[in-house]
Symmetry: C2
Subunit: 202 residues, 2 copies
Amino acid sequence: MQQYPSIVLENAVNEFAKLPGIGRKTALRLALFLLKQKDEDVELFGNTMIELKKSVHFCRTCHNISDFDECEICADPNRDKTTVCVVESIKDVMAIENTNAYKGVYHLLGGLISPMNGIGPNDLEIASLVERIANNEIKEIVLALNPNMEGDTTCFFIYRKLVDFDIKITTIARGVAIGDELEYADEITLGRSIINRINYSG
Amino acid sequence: MQQYPSIVLENAVNEFAKLPGIGRKTALRLALFLLKQKDEDVELFGNTMIELKKSVHFCRTCHNISDFDECEICADPNRDKTTVCVVESIKDVMAIENTNAYKGVYHLLGGLISPMNGIGPNDLEIASLVERIANNEIKEIVLALNPNMEGDTTCFFIYRKLVDFDIKITTIARGVAIGDELEYADEITLGRSIINRINYSG
């Protein structure tokens, strides 16, 4: 355990070290960096974080982060409200939005089913997804969850909940990434991309 | 440029991204982490940083970070006030303190002479070091700066400033680290450790 020469410095290091991926050495570097900044800049830093937590809203429809009760995507009249893409978190929304390839709306689960971490279906926005489908005219659900055990479990759970509705349930295509070389692709990905081969229209 | 769904989130990402070594992706991860924490925890985080800048003091003698006008080391009657170790920053003080091998006091320069970065001798606590030596009974100055161009330049500059005083000027030993193997040591380090060989008393 290192001895810090000042209690306020130690407090700052402790707070920084609570952040994910930041150890005590990095935390000290960040605290010393803040010490070198102007008073008003450090005040802005601290107040921005407090403000973030205080004034952020979550969209009442898709649970995305927003400045208002309804997010920009749900409020946009040009978006196709009959197609709902189910994602884990806001990072996935940002990634998909960056592609400019999707014109529907989203539904954020807030996580994935993970018994190892004590996260069950009731901790996620799955009930609200079922309710949303029951009460709105929705034609297609696109499951866009990460291709790992948690993602697959969650996909299957949602599929079972939705199978009785008269909607199309799809999932994003898995396959060899553009620019990747076949010989270096892993067997499962390459296998799936052969099984799910599509008509060549190029 | 990524589009953030909320202005308060974007502000928080911008603030985190100002920290050294933190890019925009990590900044987003940190901001989303804060969003998941309790209100009072985020408030504590923000206020701790503001408090750090507001209430930190610098020791009037050695310029170390402290909660008071005089740091714990300078205030300690058991420390040898006649030996002053000159270091770049508080991180070096913490590293040397952790060795439990030094019982003197410190003098923090606040940086190293670096013309590339526009840092000259007047930006550092060198004048105050000379004044400290002129006005106090100091027998030895230990130069403990990093062994690179900036460190060597700074050492030489300080040496020239102090050479007329009747004090011993030393520098920390360079050599092969304990646990290192000779065959893998770089030539300069190994060369210096041969030139500066010491009597074997083991």
